[in-house]
Symmetry: C2
Subunit: 220 residues, 2 copies
Amino acid sequence: MAKVDIGRKILGANEVYAQKNRELLAQIKKPCFNIISSPGSGKTTILVRTINDLAGSLRVGVIEGDIQTDIDAERIRAAKAPAIQINTQGACHLSAAQVNQALEKLPLDSLDIVFIENVGNLVCPSAFELGETGKIVVLSVAEGDDKPAKYPAIFAKSKVLLVNKIDLLAGALVDFDLDRVRMDARRLNKDISIFPVSARTGEGMQNWYAWLTDQIRASR
Amino acid sequence: MAKVDIGRKILGANEVYAQKNRELLAQIKKPCFNIISSPGSGKTTILVRTINDLAGSLRVGVIEGDIQTDIDAERIRAAKAPAIQINTQGACHLSAAQVNQALEKLPLDSLDIVFIENVGNLVCPSAFELGETGKIVVLSVAEGDDKPAKYPAIFAKSKVLLVNKIDLLAGALVDFDLDRVRMDARRLNKDISIFPVSARTGEGMQNWYAWLTDQIRASR
């Protein structure tokens, strides 16, 4: 029982900052999406391609969460978007307080949208609200089609599921049943939007961009 | 500071059971490896292939950690090895107490080795000692070659790194520099053994089997 109480206290302290972030984002009328996946599903590559493909029409800012290194923030900056790196020093998820500090450092007035790239972890980040407009879960086809069944929390809470690396499906190099993923994800979350994409080849990315553009319109 | 204290208490309670497991394994003189990776790196597929390829010479028992479902335990049982499923109900790692209960349920007398397949998570399981003989980290090439740098703890603590899905390197479908992984992993842990494998095609698995066989000999 002690374990549950401890968890509640940590989540309660987090909620104070989540609410601050929610109020700030509502005030400036800009959407902010919290991207969650296992390590290596392609979160940063999706962001870099999105920034490049929509350069000139969408001004993106990124909050990068990593345990160590600023590898990901450097990749975002190379695509000419502002990025604030948060190193969690071992912690398995971003907290709302960390995001609150990072939001203050971003040039919000000159942005259309903020992405939070969470620490690579399909489990823990789903339990910590950051005050975001919504969560985006990324699943690479190389990870297998049983992941919504085995890691249900994040699929139940996300607005969008990006099924990435679909270029690997050609040649039957990986066993992945997209229909099974669709069915399992929709059973957990009937409203989730599912876009199969390849951030490497660009396949399917237009559907993701159309959804994003619509979200920006809706938040104004 | 409160956060650190809470963490210490949880880890302290865990250590009591880790020590019990250590003593049990020393008494029966059988090795027990804790396999840790992101979701979908191929832990279960590696185990199933190992069980099948070494059938007749190596008797394997498996403790399966998953947040939900018994999909993985069923895969192990289909390969005719005993498997005890632990569902963590949301928790992001196995505890030593859970492993202690599962060890009691396995037919240890008729086994040569026990594998613990931890919850798919490259971060949290590395902080919880289970009393295991050693940790094995699995990294799929689809996850990218920056993972030892970005998630150093588990690479620093493991006896073996299995670089899985090397069949995907053919045709340059994924960008992955094996030398970078070797260099970064060895910088964290000069004693780590690194075996590039494909559990799908069987490539490189003989090196892993040779290492395992040697470990069993050493523990007798």
